[in-house]
């Protein structure tokens, strides 16, 4: 019982802090807007995609991008906790390390989901095909994507001892994962090597699954849905294991 209370309180802390941080919320709201309306509009009229609206095409990718960046940031927040000493308070409590990790993970995941969801209203503005059943269908896929990404962030936070490595994460995790996920361009017409590298990126399957749900018949999926889900699930489980292990070794 005590473990569940501990997990709950850690979850609550993450969510409260996320909702209180107004500048971050505003930033999170405006950034996808820029991508969608400036980058999206520009590309729509110059990239020459005729099968579908380019903005509609990148929309699921931008949801994934917002979740990716937030997940890394929230995961890394463990470093803040270490820096300001609060991590010590948690680590000496009777709660087990795996419960602490789970509480953090669920809290950060809630934040990431909220982040993904607040972008959805933009879909109406670009005239994308979206309604409540589609939205509800997208949620579980988003949750799977979120778990895997948050665990990446938490794993790095357990390994890094200070903020010096934070820029590295931006350069070596965030941007490659974003660019190589097919979020901004279809992977059907890119060179072979780029396609294969992208296929190694778990986020590719997330973007693919989201598009399958949100774009309907106009979009030809890279993989059938069950493969997307299987990869995302496998990746989430794997990263959860790695993250728990890494976190339980911190002191």
């Amino acid at each position: 019982m005590s473990e569940i209370r501990g997990i709950y309180t850690l979850w609550l802390r993450e969510v409260k802090k996320f909702l209180r941080e107004k500048p971050r919320l505003i930033n999170a709201f405006v950034q996808p807007l820029l991508w969608l309306f400036i980058f999206g509009t520009g590309m729509r009229f110059s990239a020459g995609m005729t099968d579908y609206n380019y903005q509609e095409f990148i929309f699921p990718g931008l949801v994934c991008q917002a979740m990716l960046f937030t997940a890394m940031f929230m995961g890394i927040s463990v470093i803040w906790d270490r820096e300001f000493g609060f991590l010590k308070e948690i680590l000496v409590s009777p709660i087990s390390r795996s419960s602490i990790f789970l509480g953090k993970m669920l809290g950060a995941s809630t934040d990431v989901m909220l982040q993904g969801i607040i972008i959805f209203p933009f879909a109406f503005m670009i005239g994308a095909r979206i309604n409540l059943p589609i939205f509800l269908e997208a949620l579980p896929v988003m949750l799977l994507i979120t778990f895997g990404l948050v665990c990446i962030g938490l794993t790095f936070a357990s390994l890094l001892k200070s903020f010096e490595g934070f820029g590295m994460i931006q350069t070596f995790i965030n941007l490659p994962m974003f660019f190589l996920s097919g979020a901004l361009f279809p992977l059907t017409s890119v060179p072979e090597w780029l396609r294969w590298v992208s296929f190694c990126n778990p986020l590719t399957y997330g973007v693919d699954a989201m598009r399958t749900i949100m774009m309907g018949e106009v979009f030809v999926p890279l993989f059938p849905m069950y493969i997307d889900i299987a990869v995302l699930l496998g990746f989430a489980v794997f990263m959860f294991g790695v993250g728990t292990y890494a976190f339980s070794r911190t002191e």
Binding site: L10, R13, K17, E83, F84, K88, P94, E251
Partner: protein
């Protein structure tokens, strides 16, 4: 009754540096026990091992009857800790910080609100409880951390430098809280300090730690008496003759004249003082002034470690300030 804390050859090495060197120690239930030593003496390392944060290199210890190696979770439930460095979440309110702690330590939900109120009252933060910690002063945060350490009514409370960085008034307050606590809660309190006065006035027993070893352990008064007691200083016109008189009257053998004053080294000055005055007056000596000096903990510390803690402290403080500055810059 067995000691509430017992260590058995507890040792911790970092590479070739032995921070804690096979310490054997017994702390009784209900004591306020002080670990006194300069920075780097091994106080915090010892504390960290007792709190199960650090694993000993060899040896072990028991806290509240639980082994720190085999039953760390039971140990953690039995203890409260107030760290030297802040460990509160400044983005949350005082009450929220306490609420999280109550959840982490499994304080029953129906008791939580009442307990939080009790500890807030104790540290006089009730009125500010719903403000974010950004608005708290350093002393208030410290008090909140103490309140938090008490929230789950631990058997043993560890205080790592509880009054560091507090102004003298807050320090007095803190001492009152600590004394009060022990009386009310039947709690054992172990604190580390490098303030001599704190060890002297607050602790029932003090262990002086140097280079990872306990070099002295006793009640503060016994430690001070162990140095040979007090010095009576006496001013008179005819010091040499009075000295001879005092020796002849068999009041003390340790009488000497120093800078024109008579210095009498005695074990128990409170008893000898009236006898000296009486004997001198009876023999017709006129005493200009007379006063008494007690050795303080600093003398005790110098005696056992050969160093003056104040210098050590000043050096440590500089290092600490540099560290804080680095932090702020980041």
């Amino acid at each position: 009754m067995p000691p509430i804390i017992e260590t058995f050859n507890l040792t911790k090495s970092f590479g070739s540096n032995t921070a804690v060197d096979s310490i054997c120690l017994g702390i009784e239930q209900g004591e306020v026990f002080g670990l006194l030593g300069p920075n780097g003496a091994g106080k915090s390392t010892l504390l960290s091992m007792l709190c199960t944060i650090l694993k000993p290199t060899s040896g072990t210890a028991s806290v509240n009857g639980f082994d720190i190696l085999r039953q760390p979770h039971d140990v953690r439930r039995s203890i409260g800790i107030v760290f030297q460095d802040p460990s509160v979440d400044a983005d949350m309110t005082g009450r929220e910080n306490l609420q999280m702690h109550a959840d982490l330590y499994d304080v029953p939900v129906i008791e939580q609100a009442a307990r939080i109120k009790t500890v807030l009252d104790l540290v006089q933060l009730e009125a500010r409880a719903d403000e974010f910690l950004h608005a708290y002063s350093g002393g208030m945060r410290r008090r909140l951390e103490i309140a938090r350490g008490l929230l789950h009514y631990p058997k043993v409370l560890f205080l790592d430098e509880p009054t560091i960085g507090l102004d003298p008034q807050s320090r007095e307050h803190m001492w009152d809280y600590i004394r009060d606590l022990r009386k009310r809660e039947d709690m054992t309190i172990i604190l580390t300090t490098h303030y001599m006065e704190e060890a002297d006035r607050l602790c029932d027993r003090v262990a002086i730690i140097d280079h990872g070893r306990i070099v002295a352990l006793d009640r503060p008064s016994a430690l001070k008496n162990g140095l040979g007691g007090d010095t009576i200083i006496l001013g008179t016109k005819d010091s040499t003759r009075l000295r001879d008189h005092l020796i002849a009257a068999k009041i003390s053998e340790n009488v000497e004249v120093h800078n024109g004053e008579i210095r009498v080294m005695v074990v128990n000055a409170n008893i000898l003082l009236p006898r000296i005055i009486e004997s001198a007056s009876a023999a017709g000596f006129y005493i200009d002034y007379i006063y008494l000096t007690h050795p303080d903990m600093n003398d005790v510390f110098i005696h056992y470690t050969g160093r003056d803690i104040r210098h050590e402290q000043a050096r440590g403080q500089l290092g600490k300030m540099a560290m804080m500055r680095r932090r702020r810059v980041r």
